[in-house]
């Protein structure tokens, strides 16, 4: 026995004996699910295994990735942001309207980002200083932003600014494959968010608040700043996602992105972030968005299934993940 253990472990032994820390299990499960979806799909449908399909998944869901990143910050503190779908719609509308009025596209982009950030700031201040439930405060934000969109224009406004079109179709070629820079921007947002959450005091305070807000306060952490900050980030991300969405769809419309906040929440939860806060990673959210996108892709590849199956499968997945998380956290206690 001792002779066996005295020998240095071979690489395979180490792989074999590796057990991931429990906090990574949800993310690994999501990743496995994603790989599984593509594996099964690849066997059934030709062309699904083409890497371009995978890249397209990123391109088509760039806005949802950015939206999910902002939502992850909020959910990690134990809050929720229901306003983001409406902020996306408002962003498309502000972009379309200002461009129609002849603003410079850069000024237009700045206006959109500023609006989303300020909305997030207002909701954050309400939530922290007036102690209003995030659910209610952001529900008010949802109605407000949607209403403002109608106020700007009831009709759909198309975007035909040349700079915007160039941005929208800006493409980077990687050998035989191509990726739009909107997708690269989304990945950059994920990377920055992951860095902020893991390696800055702000990020760690986000987790601390999710674990126990009163403890975080007694530990002398900057609770107020951080709590308001996550809603500012979510508002900014929603505005950025709105820009990406308007580049994707090239119009401003008050009917855009209805219910998109729920897609974002679903992606965050499927990505392994606990709704009660304190546990989760933005990489999980990225995987969550990709899983949702993969379901859509699979169903469109199949061609025989109606699109409502997307909703049904999403619902089942969401439920499964929440139940699995429940068991995982209960076992630890």
């Amino acid at each position: 026995m001792s002779t066996v253990t005295a020998r240095p472990d071979s690489a395979w032994d180490r792989v074999k004996d590796f057990t991931p820390p429990p906090r990574y299990i949800p993310i690994i499960a999501t990743f496995a699910l994603f790989v599984g979806l593509f594996g099964v799909g690849g066997m059934r449908y030709d062309g699904l295994t083409d890497p371009q399909v995978l890249i397209s998944l990123l391109i088509d869901n760039a806005f949802l990735i950015v939206l999910g990143v902002g939502m992850t910050f909020v959910i990690l503190t134990g809050g929720i942001d229901l306003s983001v779908g409406s902020v996306v719609a408002l962003s498309t509308m502000i972009a379309a309207k200002t461009l129609q009025m002849g603003w410079s596209p850069y000024l237009s982009i700045a206006a959109v980002l500023l609006t989303g950030t300020v909305l997030g700031l207002l909701m954050g201040l309400l939530i922290h200083y007036f102690d209003i439930q995030p659910f209610i405060a952001t529900l008010a934000g949802l109605f407000l932003a949607r209403g403002l969109t109608y106020l700007i224009s009831v009709e759909s406004i198309s975007i035909n600014n040349s700079t915007f079109s160039e941005l929208a179709f800006g493409t980077v070629y990687l050998g035989d494959y191509y990726i739009r820079w909107t997708a690269l921007l989304a990945l950059a947002v994920v990377a920055i968010a992951a860095y902020v959450l893991a390696r800055t005091r702000f990020g760690r305070t986000v987790y601390a608040i999710g674990g126990s807000e009163s403890s975080a306060m007694l530990m002398g952490l900057r609770v107020a700043f951080t709590k308001v900050g996550v809603y500012v980030i979510s508002g900014f991300c929603a505005a950025l996602a709105g820009l990406l969405f308007s580049l994707y769809i090239l119009s401003g419309n008050s009917l855009h992105a209805i219910g998109m906040e729920l897609d974002a929440i679903a992606a965050v939860v499927i990505g392994g972030t606990l709704l009660t806060g304190g546990r989760g990673y933005v990489v999980g959210t990225l995987l969550g968005v990709l899983v949702l996108g993969a379901i859509k892709t699979l169903i469109s590849f199949d061609g025989t299934l109606s699109s409502y199956w997307i909703r049904i499968i999403t619902g089942v997945l969401l439920l499964t993940f929440v139940v699995v998380q429940r068991f995982a956290t209960r076992r630890q206690q």
Binding site: R199, R201, R204, G211, S215, A216, M219, G220, R279, Q332
Partner: protein, 524 residues
């Protein structure tokens, strides 16, 4: 240094350096209640300063005033002679004041190292250096003699370890003042000793330590100086060595000790051990919780269960009450062999159980005193048969009076009562159901000496009236004072059972330590 004339302040001649903290005439008012009334406190470097007083005396308020949680209405705080105002915990921490609260105020979802260094993580190029953080955490933990992996997640560890992590966090800032608010209430003897070692080391390094504990022995073991509070006012500042325990208790409760003395019970009730037991457990056990245990309980008898934290004493109580299911053995209640499937079952058989965790399993903070008291009775009647208003009023008034619950207001919200009074309400809740068998798990933990004495007196009185009581407490003196028979537990099993005639704390400790003679040996 100006000598204060009233109240007395002891000045050890020539040895008093400048206090690191001096709080002068601090007053704090909450609504109509004056929580602190011109209280002063002086903390000297290199001293352990005990803050003494009953529950509700204002200890916690004073601490929270110093740590910036509460705003001071009147009075001044001097830090090394200079006036300071703390408007937030962060400001107080920046001035070198670190606090460890009674409840572990850490974040369960992060690692041990993060919990120690959150808010002051070592950074390289603006980014938190995880490696450096773990290294620093490990060093501090080793300094304190705590051997755990700083990378592990906090909620993987038992409460006692989490408490030590909280202290490690407080120590890491190289605090000038370390406030320990009842750090020992969830620690066992070994862990307390470890904590004291750490405290002495820090004291010798020049830290001023504020120590709050309900265990007088601990105060006398570790503290140098003490400040005694009563009803939000300063009673006296004293040197511990110059004050006897009796004097201290008198200063704290401000009344004569007849309640305590009344308890010096006559010989144990030996007649009890005859006839059929009201409760009999044979081989009662549960996997990974408790080894097969026998226990008999006779009418009018108090059986005390002694043992360290984790010895299985709480687990036994829970099995007796049916709160957990036994895998093995059987339970006989009044010669009726029944498997207790649930607490409801037990209540129907006139068994009552007051849990050790009164916060989580006992009181409902947002209900009134009256509602809390009547909860168990209402549950046993079923929700469709409300208790008549007249009966409610009568019962509640009666028990508020019998147990001296303060405030004597049935409509007061539970959360506004002190720990001792909450415990009395819990006791009342079960007494109202008129049980034959009362299981009390740590009924006096964390409560002040006056309330403690009243609860003990009540238990003794009930037993004299024929109630059978299982009494569990970490305080051996208390178990010995009350019990007719003594059961000692260790490592999840019963290791000894003997009649309580002249058993001393030392005897029990020897039994627990495994040095005592086996049962039946004459000990002389």
């Amino acid at each position: 240094m100006t000598q204060m004339t009233e109240p007395d302040v002891v000045t050890a001649p020539g040895t008093d350096p400048q206090p690191v903290i001096e709080m002068r005439d601090i007053s704090i008012t909450f609504g109509a209640v004056r929580a602190l009334d011109e209280v002063s406190l002086r903390l000297f470097p290199g001293e352990v300063h005990a803050l003494m007083g009953e529950n509700g005396a204002g200890k916690s308020t004073l601490i929270k005033a110093l740590t910036g949680v509460y705003t001071i209405d009147e009075g001044t705080v001097l830090v090394e002679g200079e006036s300071h105002e703390f408007h937030s915990p962060a400001a107080s921490q920046a001035a070198g004041i670190s606090t460890v609260y009674q409840e572990v105020n850490l974040v369960p979802n992060l690692t041990v190292a993060e919990n120690m260094l959150l808010g002051r993580e070592p950074r390289r190029f603006g980014a938190i250096s995880v490696r450096e953080m773990n290294r620093r955490a490990r060093r501090t933990l080793l300094h304190l003699g705590v051997d755990i992996d700083p990378r592990s997640v906090l909620d993987e560890h038992p409460i006692a370890v989490q408490q030590l992590v909280a202290i490690a966090r407080a120590v890491d800032v190289e605090a000038k003042v370390l406030i320990l608010d009842e750090p020992t209430s969830s620690l066992d003897a070994d862990e307390v000793e470890k904590l004291f070692t750490v405290m002495r080391r820090l004291r010798d390094e020049g830290v001023a330590i504020v120590f709050v504990s309900h265990f007088l022995d601990q105060i006398y073991e570790i503290a140098d100086r003490m400040t005694i509070l009563r009803n939000g006012r300063l009673v006296e500042e004293r040197m511990v060595a110059e004050t006897t325990q009796l004097e201290l208790v008198r200063l704290m409760i401000g009344r004569e000790l007849e309640t305590l003395e009344r308890l010096d019970r006559e010989a144990p009730n030996t007649e009890a051990e005859s006839g059929t037991p009201v409760l009999k457990a044979v081989g009662l056990g549960r996997k990974n919780t408790l080894e097969a245990t026998d226990l008999e309980l006779f009418e009018g008898e108090v059986v005390g269960i002694a043992g360290l934290l984790g010895s299985g004493r709480t687990e036994l109580a829970r099995l007796l009450f049916g709160a957990d299911h036994a895998d093995t053995g059987e339970l006989t209640v009044r010669s009726e062999k029944r498997r207790l499937r649930s607490p409801r079952h037990a209540i129907d058989r006139r068994i009552a159980f007051s849990s050790e965790d009164r916060k989580a399993e006992g009181v409902v903070q947002d209900l009134t005193v009256a509602d809390n008291m009547l909860l168990a009775l209402q549950a046993s009647r079923g929700w469709l048969r409300p208790i008549p208003q007249a009966t409610r009023t009568k019962l509640v008034t009666e028990y508020i009076k019998a147990l001296d619950i303060r405030p004597a207001d049935p409509t007061a919200l539970m959360r506004n009562l002190s720990g001792g009074n909450q415990q009395k309400v819990l006791l009342a809740r079960w007494l109202i159901t008129q049980p034959d068998i009362l299981i009390l798990d740590e009924p006096t933990r964390g409560i002040d000496i006056g309330a403690k004495a009243q609860i003990q007196a009540k238990v003794a009185e009930l037993a004299a009236q024929g109630m059978s009581v299982v009494f569990i407490s970490a305080e051996l003196e208390e178990v010995l004072r009350l019990s007719d028979r003594l059961v000692v537990m260790r490592d999840r099993r019963k290791i000894d059972e003997r009649r309580n005639d002249d058993v001393s704390v030392r005897d029990v400790l020897e039994i627990i330590a495994g040095e005592a003679h086996p049962e039946g040996d004459p000990h002389a």
